[in-house]
């Protein structure tokens, strides 16, 4: 690594300021040290990268990745997950509490730290808030061991008293509590969103109001306990309404949305394609458009990949028997660029939800394009078709994006100024 490096002729995307400008950016010793339109290479020893007008943005921060770790080597070994993140322009990823056999003890986070030593990207873990059926986990020790946030295992916690206690206890440490807003009883045993399409297909369904009921409970508990609440993967108009009200009340709440729910809707499951089985299930087009609007307005704070690698035989099943989820790390940036190409969002609006917003919640310095910030950067062509997703570059887990043409191609990813992934050089010009 050269200690000093200059990116020339880049389209600099600053999601925090909401700007995109042509210019140059200098990296020294892993930090951004200068941004301007008139930077010239220092006489000696400085590496120069000609961006040829391509976009340069903070590397992405993905708040929800369901890795096959710690503890087991699942269908996707951990180092492949990390490599896929780097290839997808993601600089920081947070493993969800349900990753592998669960991140439930401080030791799990220490183990993860150890695994992350050789990772090309920054890796954080989120801790599971419960121990067994009805006890609290060692939330304090997990936070001390570096847990990014405390959460459930992707399914709503049915017991309201327990949810309250997790939030109250976590608020002691000013930690964010991530809860899936849902009514577990309405959701129980269902595989599809309640709508005409799914009814005709004979799939068991849950109504959108389930999310509203869950979100309202969690918002009320946040108000009661003063906890910082992340509404994990809002997917309906009903859920958005609650998030909006909670924010208007001045509560410390955040909302995330999975990439898949910005791109697909119930119509996609119409031919029983198991690839489109997700948890929470795909919603209606009105929901999808409302979610995109919420990303645009900033009501939704984060877009997450919800990367869920699995074996192919887990997906190769009739719709209802297939495991929910998809690999998505390498699709996160192209998926967002796709929404930009379709005119729904500007690049800065799209990237805000995967850079400076998650950085602000977690108190991280990266995720911003400004002098003094760590040089976690992604160089990409927002318009080039990402056809390589037909055969994903790194992750080979089942993908709903396989064969789908998305816009946006990652050219190179840098962490602390160091190149950690790059596309084959011939095709980005």
């Amino acid at each position: 690594m050269s200690a000093s490096m200059l990116f020339q002729n880049a389209l600099l995307i600053d999601p925090e300021a909401g700007t995109q400008t042509r210019g140059h950016l200098r990296v020294e010793d892993g930090f951004i040290t200068d941004i301007g339109t008139d930077l010239i290479p220092k006489s000696e020893g400085e590496g120069v990268i000609d961006a040829q007008g391509q976009a340069l943005a903070p590397a992405l921060i993905d708040l929800r990745v369901n890795a096959c770790a710690p503890g087991i080597n699942g269908p996707e070994p951990l180092h492949i997950t990390f490599k896929a993140a780097a290839a997808g322009g993601i600089g920081t990823l947070v493993l969800s509490p349900a990753s592998g056999q669960g991140i439930t003890r401080p030791e799990d986070l220490e183990w993860l730290d150890y695994q992350a030593l050789s990772a090309p990207v920054r890796v954080l873990g989120a801790g599971y808030g419960l121990d067994g059926e009805d006890g609290l986990s060692e939330i304090g020790l997990m936070l001390r061991a570096g847990a990014a946030y405390i959460g459930d295992k992707g399914k709503a916690i049915a017991d309201t008293r327990l949810a309250r206690r997790i939030m109250a206890y976590a608020s002691t440490f000013d930690a964010v509590v991530s809860l899936r807003p849902d009514d577990p009883f309405l959701a129980s045993g269902t595989i599809a969103h309640e709508c005409d399409m799914a009814a005709r297909m004979g799939l068991s369904q849950r109504p959108g109001v389930g999310e509203r009921i869950g979100a309202q409970r969690d918002a009320a508990l946040a108000e009661l306990t003063g906890a910082r609440l992340l509404m994990d993967r809002i997917t309906t108009r009903e859920g958005l309404e609650v998030l909006k009200t909670a924010k208007q009340k001045g509560l410390d709440v955040y909302g995330s949305v999975p990439l898949t729910h910005l791109l697909f809707n119930t119509v996609d499951i119409g031919s029983f394609q198991s690839a489109y089985r997700f948890e929470p299930p795909l919603r209606e087009e009105e929901d999808r458009l409302a979610l995109i609007d919420a990303v645009k307005s900033g009501l939704i704070d984060f877009v997450v990949s919800d990367h869920t690698p699995m074996a192919h035989f887990d997906k190769d099943q009739p719709f209802g028997d297939a495991k929910p989820g998809t690999q998505a790390l390498e699709a996160l940036l192209p998926g967002l660029c796709h929404l930009v190409a379709e005119g729904y969002l500007t690049l800065a609006e799209a990237l805000r939800a995967v850079t400076c917003c998650p950085a602000a919640m977690l108190g991280l310095d990266q995720g911003r394009l400004k002098v003094g910030a760590p040089a976690d950067l992604v160089l990409f062509n927002p318009d080039a078709p990402a056809l390589s997703l037909r055969q994903p570059a790194v992750s080979t887990a089942p993908s709903v994006f396989a064969g789908r043409r998305l816009a946006g191609k990652v050219i190179a990813t840098f962490i602390e100024g160091e190149l950690v992934a790059h596309a084959p050089t011939e095709d980005h010009a």
């Binding site: 009814a199 004979g202 799939l203 029983f272 035989f313 190769d316 099943q317 009739p318 028997d321």
Partner: protein, 330 residues
């Protein structure tokens, strides 16, 4: 190979749902079924049209009449018929469905008849194996041969179902029979009514080309036929219904209630019946009104027609032909 270049050949290589059929397809199915129906009355019921072909009946859910009906249909057409059903070893050994499908496909059957508890399972088999597949019921999705045999039974009585008013009563939400029948009867221009408590009707069912009733007497007004559905006992225990007694009182069919319908109204039931719950025993056994056994009889003839039409495509097509055909189809 047809001599007439303009002849319409049955275009489907699978029967997965009613949705893909057009009126000419239906005409072809019913014309053939009529021939088979007549032959089945006689002493020599055997035909050789499927001689040399192998039919596998793959039933992941318990079934008596549908399995027997498909088995008889295949055998009467001369096919070699093999049954795999729910208690079967390979199914229970935890093998994935894709592996089961590929294993069976490797034995080179020509026809697959699939029943499975998951919606879309028959389509999954068709796509995985490329073998002509008949959906014999997939979860709450569809049961197309049941709908075809129901309409065939009515056509034999009436000549046509167009313009007839037909009520479907009971658990529409969980019923594949209802979904297939609603689609087919609409295709044939019948007037369809559905009736049941709100817990057993899909929320948007008024979009399905039916009128919706919660009161049975109102639903029966002016009906030419009534299809009652089997009520599953487990609906009582999970809060969808109160009790058999209450269901019977509200939605059970009997002679007295049938007076709200047209005088010569007919009764159908896909079986197996819960006597004196969804239908009174006396009504079920009334030969002037009940078509229940006629449905079973029609079933064999209709399934013979379907197997024959699908088999026309099956032997001459290679796997690649079928893939090309599917892609051209889409």
């Amino acid at each position: 190979m047809s001599a007439d270049p303009y002849a319409y050949t049955f275009p489907h290589s699978d029967l997965l749902s009613v949705g893909g059929l057009n009126p000419i397809d239906l005409q072809m199915i019913f014309t053939r079924a009529e021939e088979h129906f007549a032959r089945n009355q006689g002493e020599d019921k055997k035909l050789g049209t499927l001689k040399g072909l192998t039919q596998i009946n793959l039933f992941f859910e318990a079934s008596t009449r549908t399995l027997a009906s498909f088995e008889l249909a295949g055998k009467r057409l001369g096919a070699d018929v093999v049954n795999f059903s729910a208690g079967n070893a390979s199914i229970k050994k935890g093998e994935s469905l894709a592996d089961t499908a590929l294993t069976l496909a490797a034995m080179k059957p020509d026809l697959l008849v699939v029943r499975h508890g998951s919606a879309g399972a028959a389509r999954f088999f068709a796509q995985t194996t490329g073998i002509a597949t008949v959906n014999a019921g997939d979860g709450a999705h569809e049961h197309p041969t049941q709908a075809l045999l129901d309409s065939f039974t009515l056509i034999q009585r009436w000549g046509d179902v167009a313009g007839r008013r037909i009520a479907i009563v009971g658990d529409i939400l969980h019923s594949r029979v209802a979904r297939s029948n609603i689609a087919l009867l609409n295709l044939m221009h019948a007037e369809v009514r559905v009736c049941g408590p709100a817990t057993l009707l899909p929320g948007d069912i008024d979009q399905w080309g039916v009128s919706v009733f919660h009161d049975l007497d109102q639903a029966l007004e002016g009906c030419d036929a009534v299809m009652t559905l089997r009520i599953q006992r487990e609906r009582m225990s999970n809060g969808l219904l109160a009790s058999e007694r209450e269901y019977g009182a509200l939605y059970g069919l009997n002679h007295q209630r049938l007076e709200h319908a047209k005088p010569d109204c007919l009764i159908m039931h896909p079986g197996p019946m819960n006597r004196n719950v969804e239908i009174s025993s006396a009504l079920a056994d009334d030969p002037d009104i009940s078509l229940i056994l006629d449905q079973v009889e029609s079933g064999v003839a209709v399934r013979m027609a379907i197997l024959e039409l699908l088999a026309q495509k099956a032997p001459s097509m290679t796997w690649q032909d079928r893939v090309n055909y599917r892609e051209g189809d889409a």
